[in-house]
């Protein structure tokens, strides 16, 4: 107890250098973990297509450590791109974060895979509790017009097959799963035609 004031006046001795080493190590580890968190959050993938992001080496043994870590955190047990390509979006077509206080339309056509689904997750990566017990729309359930286009409404309230319930407030995100992706989708996921996420209005 009496050591502290004493050490302050004494020349740098052992207790002081131990303290300094300890502070250096703690600071270094904290900084390293902070950087890791930041680098995992910086992006959801190296390939961008509008608001959608993906990585072609998800699940691949050739994946770099950053991709592998990002997938382990956000999509553990994701399939490699021969089986499925996963696109992630947490912003609308204009880059504004997806927000429960706003309504959106997800519209477009089949993205060039045998099957697809769009699933809504909360910001912890789990499905949102809602009265309709509905968490996704898919190629099997969506209504398509004569031109092949679909339009899904993302809103806290709605009905019918083309409605995806969103939270009344707070952030959320969408995952587009493209199962058995076609050649074009696998070759260049950044430039294929993916559904647009259009903000309609906010409360």
């Amino acid at each position: 107890m009496a050591r502290t004031p004493h050490a302050a006046t004494a020349p740098p001795g052992r207790p002081r250098s131990i303290l300094r080493t300890l502070a250096t190590v703690v600071l270094g580890i904290a900084l390293g973990l902070g950087l890791l968190r930041a680098s995992l959050r910086a992006t959801a993938g190296s390939v961008r297509n509008g608001p959608w992001q993906t990585d072609l080496d998800i699940g691949s043994t050739a994946a770099g450590p950053l991709t592998r870590a990002r997938i382990a955190v956000g999509g553990l047990l994701a399939l490699r791109n021969t089986e499925a390509i996963y696109f992630h979006a947490d912003a609308d077509a204009e880059g504004r974060p997806l927000d429960g206080r706003c309504d959106y339309r997800v519209e477009g056509r089949d993205p060039g895979s045998a099957w697809w689904s769009v699933t809504l997750y909360d910001d912890t990566g789990y499905l949102l509790r809602n009265q309709a017990n509905r968490w996704s729309v898919s190629r099997s359930t969506v209504t398509r017009g004569a031109d092949g286009n679909f339009s899904v409404r993302v809103s806290p309230s709605g009905e019918g097959p083309d409605w995806l319930p969103s939270p009344a407030s707070g952030p959320f995100n969408l995952t587009l799963r493209c199962y058995e992706p076609g050649e074009a989708l696998r070759a260049d996921p950044g430039s294929v035609d993916l559904p647009r996420i259009v903000r309609e209005g906010c409360r």
Binding site: R20, T24, V25, L27, G28, I29, L31, G32, L33, L35, L36, S39, I58, G59, S60, T61, A63, P65, L66, R68, A69, I71, A72, V73, G74, G75, L76, L77, A78, L79, R80, T82, E83, A114, W115, S117, T119, Y121, T124, G125, Y126, L127, L128, R129, N130, N133, W135, S136, S138, S140, T141, T175, R177, Y179, E180
Partner: protein
């Protein structure tokens, strides 16, 4: 100046080392968490199922809950193998599914948490009218194998002969031989639920997934 520079360089060096080690350790760590969550969930269900057999029947829950109770044969295998090397059908995905992040509500999953220390395993999934895939993940999360039943060879279902790296056991007829880069990992079967009406039929198929030691 010098007295400030040295600790600063030390902090940055430790930060870089921490970043690198944590980055490489994170997938292994999260895979271990997933493995232990799947196993402990199955063990708890198995204990509940076998406990109920010998316990009071007066507290048997309603039909719906009883239906979700683990099959006694499966419960016995789970307990015998301590949750390893056994196919575990997961309940249909809902907002209550919290074992693995970003579960798909359009898929029915069956997982086999494996340990090849005792030798090869055979994992089988039946053909499904919608889509079924078998995929295998090493302990560092790498998806080193994936196959689905959409091609002609999937008409009889999928059969994976999973061996530890360097194991020379020949594959039994009709199975695909795959070496796992790590002794431990997870094999996952995915069944597509394209319509809720199909769920009972697909749950029956999901329960036919097997994961068993060869010997």
């Amino acid at each position: 100046m010098r007295s400030l520079l040295r600790p600063l360089v030390a902090v940055l060096a430790i930060a870089a080392a921490t970043w690198l080690v944590a980055l490489h350790a994170l997938p292994l760590f999260l895979m271990r968490i997933a493995t232990s969550r799947i196993r402990s969930g199955a063990l708890a269900e198995a204990r509940a199922a076998t406990g109920a057999n010998g316990g009071a029947t007066g507290s048997t829950p309603s039909g719906a809950s009883a239906d979700r109770r683990m099959d006694p044969g499966l419960a016995a295998r789970v307990l015998e193998r301590d949750g390893w090397n056994v196919a575990l059908p997961a309940p249909p995905t809902t907002s209550d599914s919290r074992t693995i992040v970003r579960p798909s509500p359009d898929l029915l999953y069956a997982a086999c948490v494996y340990d090849l220390a005792a030798g090869p395993l055979i994992v089988r999934a039946p053909h499904a009218p919608t889509y079924v895939s078998l995929s295998a993940f090493a302990e560092n999360t790498d998806n080193f194998f994936a196959a689905n039943d959409r091609g002609p060879e999937g008409a009889d279902g999928l059969a994976l002969f999973l061996v530890p790296a360097g194991d020379a056991t020949p594959a039994p007829a009709g199975t695909t031989r795959v070496e796992s880069p790590s002794l431990r990992g997870i094999v996952l079967a995915r069944f597509r639920v394209d319509h809720p009406d199909r769920l009972p039929e697909l749950v029956a198929l999901q329960r036919r997934v097997t994961c068993d030691p060869v010997r």
